[in-house]
Amino acid sequence: MYDWLVVSGVTLTPWIAGFCSAIAGRVGMSGDRAARVAASVVGAGFVVTVAVAIAATAGARQPARVEFGSTYLHLDALALLMSMLVLGLSALIQIFAIRYLRGDLRQVWFVSAANLLTGFTVSMACAGSVALFAVAWIGAGAALVLLLATYRPLTQAREGIRRTGSRFVIADTAFLVPVVILLVVAGGDIPLDQLGAVTEALPAPLQLAGAVLLVAAALARSSQIPFQGWLPFTLAAPTPVSALMHAGVVNAGAILLIRFAPAIAPHQSVMIGVFLAGAVTLVYASAVRLVRPDVKGRLVFSTMAQMGFMIMACGLGAFAAAIFHLVAHSLFKSTLFLGAGMGVRQHAVDRDLPARRPHSPLALAVAVSLSVLVSLAALAAAKWMFSPTVSTASVGLLVFVALTAAVALGTALSTDFSSRTLLTGAASIVMLAFGYVALLQVFTVALEPATPLDAAPAWLLAVPAAGLIAVQLLSRNPRQLAHLRDAVYTRSVTTALPRPPVRPRTPVRPRPSVTTGVPS
């Protein structure tokens, strides 16, 4: 009984909210009231989930689960964490949208579709068996397409629906093939913890093919190469939709990879494929982001790159790190999306800051070495204190953190070389390093997979790192490698353009005689 209450409290609220708003739309209630009711219901769901999570952490009882035959919902650590994130972000964004979409003729549509999406996403996170997961996964994709149809009369919105829909249809069909085969072989629904056993019964080539097809769905949902071409086209939907996509929608790829790890992770070639898809997307999207002039375009390609990072972590088998990144990034990016209109005000504020002073090379050198030392020392100390067991993958990912800390502190010191900046900067770096490592350790303990992994080797991290550094160097517009620089820049600028019109047969050569003067 307790399980029933708890599971329905966690999973049902978005459905109730969506249902209410759809009814409200039918009977002609004001969109404002429908939005308020829906946001409160989902907010209540979030509170319940937090309470359940606290109870689950405090008590040592089994994760709550509700069964219907072999199909079941369960609230393990990942499900609870994702439910908290999805419901919390969804409620927050819906509260934001009450005011943001005030008076909008499509407000009820937005609220209904947003709750449909939230409902499917929570169900997916809590699904304990293959069939249920598949249904929720496909439902979430469909709900996202509905949400993108919020401003369907706009040409760009229709283009977004077309691109998103076509990629999801292809990838989700691919996903259904192994799922159906597994279900047929097992003669019914398969609990996720028995997935490994069922898969092993299949012939080896079929196992491999199934793993590849499962991965394709994850890559498409997280906008990874070769399915990357839909995310930038979602910007014709209102801002809250872009923010909501970070609540377990665009980052659902990691959830699929983790839940289906028993079928995917034993194949190192597939895991390397996952890693490389993430790595290539990471480099590609980072380059495009640098050339985009529009704030939301930058955010979209940044999301794509961050999803590449997350998928890459999955390929390394660092599932806890991937989920940690998923949660932190979704909070980060949804905030940036909702605040995408701050640019003009920020510009006005920055105008009143004091002019920058040039610094001596000595000060600069001191700043750089200090920042590197402080960052490395802080991270090493934190690592030693909280999680002395060291895996190569986690060290590899920590290098990113150390680099970031060094860049941040170094920039701060080279902007304002004063004891005030040094002290506050160093103190913040130490505090953040300790907080980061401790929190990551909490995630690792809670989420470390039980299944055997044959992950991509950690040295592969050198590939995306080299790519990123190369892009960073090219973006400084060096004199060397001008051809490569121009080609990468131009490719990045034109990446989201449609195809040009029909090709001309022969090149038309400008005649030298008309290089000056007017046409006669």
Partner: protein, 809 residues
């Protein structure tokens, strides 16, 4: 460089209205190029000049347009409509027949559809935006070569172009005009058709084209020749023939009934079944003078005339009293000031004045030690005077600068970490948690968040300082500015305390915040100008010079600067440390009066503000800090008229914050020089604002910026709707409407002036810009000689007595 081609480009671009960046939003008439021609000729593809028939009929149903208005509008637009006719035994006037016809004849407004974007448009929008990228993380290589040359160098390596096109590009001349000339030949454009062809192509991507024109004039890093160079060479390379932008006919008259049907319908509605063919024929002869195509503008005229009648009737004629006021408040002519002035004037010995919000002091302003400057002056002027601040306490100023540097260090380090390629991943992991907390706070408790933010990062505005007017202006300049200001706003006797209140709007997450600031200050808050103006008026040297020119400011008169926050309606006194001890009490009194007025005004505004309630004024004020709020305030929505004359005309009248009020006293301006300045500067700016709202309301998809909810900023240049495409022009839908309903009533500016008619007539005939606007019906002008005289209406043929309808609501 080809001078002839450059001249042809300039001729083709003549009608294009330059559009300012969104960070210093200047309202413009998007159809200003049509001003030398009659208003009705401005319609074009995707441009509606009037509302729909249903909207006008609904207005007629609720008494917003009455028959008298329609008759007056018909009399103005169709002067030959006169006389009587008998239909089926009933005597009716020709005008009433035409009125009946207007209510029954069907017409459709022009379809205000978004023109479909071609590949070429998307390609050019992408390259122009990448080239102009105001805050690039990766600056365009070869940018220093100029737009055309940089594009030419890069497009050779563009794999999205077919190889043959790339080869063509590689062989192009380096100069944009040479390439353009080559392309025009290649496309087979005849020499005499060049200007027309260029003009037609400039109709595509109007937002970017308008911005490029602005940029060519003000910054100069791109011009329309290089833009057209890229456009035409691509067209030549792809073999695309230049076509005018597609769009339906401007007036869809297919559904319009024939003249005979209209006549029959009207005749039968008058005479019933007794109507014969001759009756119908005589009705038809009347209706032929007013074809259906003219109906929309007649309805619009009636709509405007009704408003003018109510306005003129509301304007009173009391004479000026000669007693000295205790307090004078000078505010911007902005319609929002009207609400504040009305509520402040509840106190009897308070006088208020309306004057352009830069108070006649055009400056480029820099805060103490700041890196950036603001051009705080009307768009018609260029910045020649640099104003800055001088802190009174240098130790405090040093501390402030040190804090600013630390803040800059934090901003820059997060920006650098976020904009690198290797660092954003860990940055997101570490700071995401903090961002989440900020997001929650901003959404659930905006006011608390703002308070926290303010306590952590105190604003540069709190540093005690004086503005450096002596460095910025010579004594002669200061005295001249003060004299002009006094003569223009017509202050006869100065009160002991004169408050000059500029205005600014505080909102968050609002790319159009500048559209809510002071237009006379170039889309910036007016605090700096108010401070400078107050300092000039308090300057004893200036007062001495003024005395010699017949303007005596008593020694006990003190000028104080203030700023009106149009979201919260608080008027904050600036430079409080400069208030002499003798005037501290008076300042306190002012603040008390202002607080009461603000409370009343916020409640009044809450009635119109979407989602607000007069019962909770605190929530209206909280909109200043709410990042989810798309309606922080209504700005100048509803603006419909401008009144130039003494405040006695309108004091005590509720003008509903819809009227620009410029104070003016004929006695102080015997030659009419001040009136000429008012009519050629503030009046023209008011007209820009009026038409910006007018066309943004009627054409939200083409001349307005559409809904804010999909806006995507390009730095501080402007916004896109969605991920690519044209730069949006005009105001967002949230400035003019809610849902599918307009709260801005689109009406062309009605100008009322109280001044000698001959002076006004002389000024109009001297100024082409005024003649264009008035003779072509872009605005209307109604005037009277003095408070006792009758209202006269300006027509191209002279003054006529204005018809003031006396019935209706």
């Amino acid at each position: 460089m080809s001078l002839i081609l450059r001249a042809q480009v300039a001729a083709a671009a003549h009608d294009i209205v330059p559009s300012w960046p969104v960070a210093s939003f200047i309202a413009v008439n998007p159809l200003a190029g049509h001003e030398p021609r009659p208003f009705e000729t401005a319609a074009g593809p995707g441009v509606a000049l009037t509302r729909s028939r249903d909207a006008y009929l609904a207005a007629a149903d609720r008494g917003r347009i009455v028959d008298a208005d329609l008759e007056a509008a018909l009399a103005e637009r169709v002067p030959d409509l006169s006389g009587q006719l008998t239909i089926g035994g009933t005597n009716v006037t020709a005008v009433s027949v035409a009125v009946l016809d207007m209510k029954s004849a069907q017409w459709k407004p022009a379809p205000a559809a978004e023109p479909p974007a071609s590949w070429l448009d998307e390609y050019l929008a992408t390259w122009v935006s990448s080239y102009l990228n105001p805050d690039p993380l990766w600056a365009m290589p070869h940018q220093q070569l100029g737009f055309f040359h940089a594009w030419r160098t890069l497009a050779r390596r563009d794999p999205s172009l077919p190889r043959s096109v790339r080869r063509t590009v590689a062989g192009l001349p380096l100069e944009p005009d040479a390439a353009l000339a080559w392309a025009l030949v290649r496309l087979g454009v005849a020499a005499e058709a060049v200007t027309e062809t260029l003009r037609a192509e400039l109709q595509h991507l109007p937002g970017w084209v308008g911005h490029i024109k602005w940029r060519a004039e003000k910054i100069g890093d791109i011009d329309l020749t290089s833009y057209l160079g890229v456009r035409f060479t691509l067209m030549a390379a792809f073999g695309l023939t230049p076509l005018p932008p597609s769009g339906g006919p401007t007036r869809a008259d297919e559904a319009a009934p024939t003249l005979w049907d209209r006549g029959e319908h009207v005749a039968r509605s008058i005479g019933g079944s007794r109507v014969g063919r001759e009756d119908i024929a005589s009705v038809t002869r009347v209706l032929a003078t007013h074809p259906v195509a003219d109906h929309p503008l007649t309805w619009q005229k009636a709509y405007e005339l009704h408003y003018r009648s109510t306005l003129v009737q509301a304007v009173t004629g009391t004479q000026r009293t000669d007693s000295r006021a205790h307090l004078q408040l000078v505010m911007c002519i902005d319609p929002r000031s009207e609400g504040m002035r009305r509520h402040v004037e509840i106190v009897p010995d308070v006088e208020t004045f309306g004057f352009a919000g830069f108070f006649g002091v055009p400056v480029r302003f820099t805060r103490y030690g700041a890196r950036g400057t603001v051009n705080s002056l009307p768009a018609l002027l260029t910045a020649r005077h640099h104003l800055t601040e001088h802190p009174t306490d240098s130790a405090r100023a040093q501390a402030q600068v040190a804090r600013g540097r630390a803040r800059d260090a934090l901003r820059r380090s997060t920006h650098r970490a976020d904009s690198g390629t290797t660092t954003p991943f860990a940055l997101a992991e570490v700071s995401g948690w903090l961002y989440g907390a900020i997001s929650i706070l901003r959404t659930l408790a905006p006011t608390l968040q703002a308070r926290l933010h303010r306590s952590l990062t105190p604003s540069a505005a709190i540093l005690e300082s004086t503005v450096t007017i002596v460095d910025a202006f010579t004594l002669e300049e200061r005295a001249a500015m003060a004299e002009t200001a006094v003569r223009m706003m017509g202050i006869v006797r100065f009160a002991p305390l004169v408050v000059l209140a500029g205005h600014g709007s505080e909102s968050m997450n609002n790319l159009y915040q500048s559209a809510l600031d002071c237009g006379a200050c170039g889309g910036n808050p007016g605090a700096a100008n108010a401070r400078a103006s107050a300092a000039i008026f308090n300057d004893p040297d200036v007062r001495a010079v003024l005395e010699t020119r017949g303007i005596r400011i008593p020694s006990d008169s003190v000028f104080l600067a203030a700023e009106h926050n149009t979201v919260t309606d608080a008027i904050t006194l600036l430079d409080r440390h400069l208030i002499p001890p003798s005037h501290v009490d008076a300042a306190g009194t002012f603040e008390r009066i202002q607080r009461t007025a603000a409370e009343l005004l916020v409640r009044e505004r809450a009635r119109d503000l979407p989602g607000a309630s007069p019962r909770s004024p605190a929530r209206v004020r909280a909109r200043a800090h709410d990042w989810a709020e798309v309606y922080p305030e209504l700005g100048l929505a509803g603006n419909a008229a401008m009144i130039i004359g003494p405040r006695q005309m309108t004091r005590g009248v509720d003008l509903d914050r819809r009227v620009f009020l410029h104070s003016y006293q004929t006695e102080l301006d015997p030659g009419g020089a001040a009136l000429e300045t008012i009519m050629t500067a503030p009046l023209v700016v008011a007209q820009w604002i009026n038409h910006q709202y007018y066309f943004s309301a009627l054409n939200p998809a083409t001349l307005g910026a559409g809904t804010k909810t999909i806006h995507n900023a390009i730095g501080t240049i402007g916004v896109l709707a969605g991920h690519t495409g044209d730069l949006r022009r005009g105001l967002p839908w949230q400035s003019v409407g809610l849902g599918d309903r307009l709260f801005h009533e689109p009406m062309r500016l009605t100008v009322l002036i109280q001044a000698p008619l001959d002076t006004i007539g002389r000024i109009v005939s001297r100024n082409q810009v005024l003649r264009n606007l008035l003779d072509n019906d872009w605005i209307t002008l109604t005037a009277r000689n003095d408070h006792a005289a009758a209202w006269h209406q300006y027509t191209p043929y002279g003054w006529t007595v204005a018809p003031i309808a006396l019935e209706g609501s």
